[in-house]
Amino acid sequence: MLKDITIGQYFPGQSILHEMDPRMKIVLTTVYIIMLFAASNPLGLCVSIPFLVLAYGVSRIPAVMILRSLKPVLPIIIFTSLLNMFFIDGQVLWQLGFLKITLQGLTTAIVMSIRILFLIAGTSLLTYTTSPIALTDGIERLFSPLKRLKLPVHELAMMMTIALRFIPTLVEETDKIMSAQKARGADMESGGLTRRAKALIPILIPLFVSAFRRADELALAMECRCYRGGEGRTRMKQLKIHSRDIFCAIFVGVCFAAVIAINLWAPVVLTMR
């Protein structure tokens, strides 16, 4: 039953977004986030709409996936919108007792919500179109200049790879241990929170023991295969910037420029405080 868990949220495909260099995708996603926060007026934010529609359209990720990625942040959005709406001073639109809604509060609430929604929808696209391993690879290579500052970039990437490799193994193992404990009469589904938490102990202990044993053996196997850290190591797969990467970069660049231009010249009425 635990086997149904999917790791990450990768949707395999062959679109231009899937085939893009992971480093470029990470950089462009970062630029997109900056763009969202640089847009100081609602019109600027609107630039993101065709941007997102196009990106999702090209990647062929089903639109329901946007909703699914937004679901967890919805409470936060509602909460912050309410705060913004009621507690920002300005031109009063509507009043009931001590509660009042101001024009400024309303615009801030709307802009903030759109910003967060677009932020989540846009960044999810990165994990939807990039396999975890490509993502790790991209991060390692993107940050490799930081090795000079003695940051353990390779080691962190290796840890991530190994974690990704062993998640399915450990999930399977957890499943086995759970069945074994159930066969011995362990009850994991009933009782209050503390009782259920206690019922987890006989699962976690064998799982940890086995994980440590695995780690030990893996370390030995890696040493036998001449592993000695990132130094002097080459990679089979070389990442290359293709014309499609340049094309996407230009596209994002144009959007960014549009946002800046709107910031500078849009009608003052629309600018927020």
Partner: protein, 285 residues
Amino acid sequence: MEDIITAREITFGYPKENNQIQLVLRGVSLTIQEGEFVAILGHNGSGKSTIAKHMNAILVPNEGTMTVCGIDTKDEEKLYDIRRQVGMVFQNPDNQIVATIVEEDVAFGPENMGVEPSRIRELVDQSLEDVGMSEYKHHAPHQLSGGQKQRVAIAGIIAMRPRCIVLDEPTAMLDPKGRREVMRTIQRLNRENSITIVLITHYMEEAAKAGRVVVMDDGQILYDDTPKHVFSHVRELKEVGLDVPQATELCYELRQAGYDLPEDILTEEECAQALCHLLERGKAV
């Protein structure tokens, strides 16, 4: 033929709590030549894995010398020269696969050695082909069967182009089908790629396929001979807690019961032939 592994009177012990050491190898001498297929047998705790770990310098002897490919394993500078020439495959395939995609895992060894990318590609494709796993190169390891995973692990070793592979009970966790797959792969590597094989196993039928069998008992070498000679010592092997191949055992029992059968029978075919022969003669009398 050149000697690839030479152990001279090596002793080794693991440190125990109260500053004592538990002797595991007591003066083992062993020479393995290039191109050989050697099986190592012995009951649990007889020191098989320990000697295997001496063969690629994971452990170094307390006394005596271990020379691998002409290099003394005590020479720490040359550690990686030894390890790239003597690869090691372990019992649990799950715990040796590092990457999330088969071909990336096979590339791990050559990547560590700093091989050029285009050459790694060739090595990976060739190695996967050698173990018959080419069609799975884009799969995730957890989608494979045990036998397939173990073959990927072997591919990961042969991609480093070693002269010798040491396999420590590679079939212990596999079902009969997986076991056959792995054995066939090992035999082919030995025959066609002339890689020296050291196979540690508990399956006598597997050991019977080797060119030479070494039997260990309590940190010492008891027998070191061809399978036919070693398995003819049925009683002695049973005394140290080992079995012999089923065919050998059957013939042994029949011999004890007074039937005239040869002593050097290993495979079922040989056994069947000998029995037919016996029956024919019985009829003739």
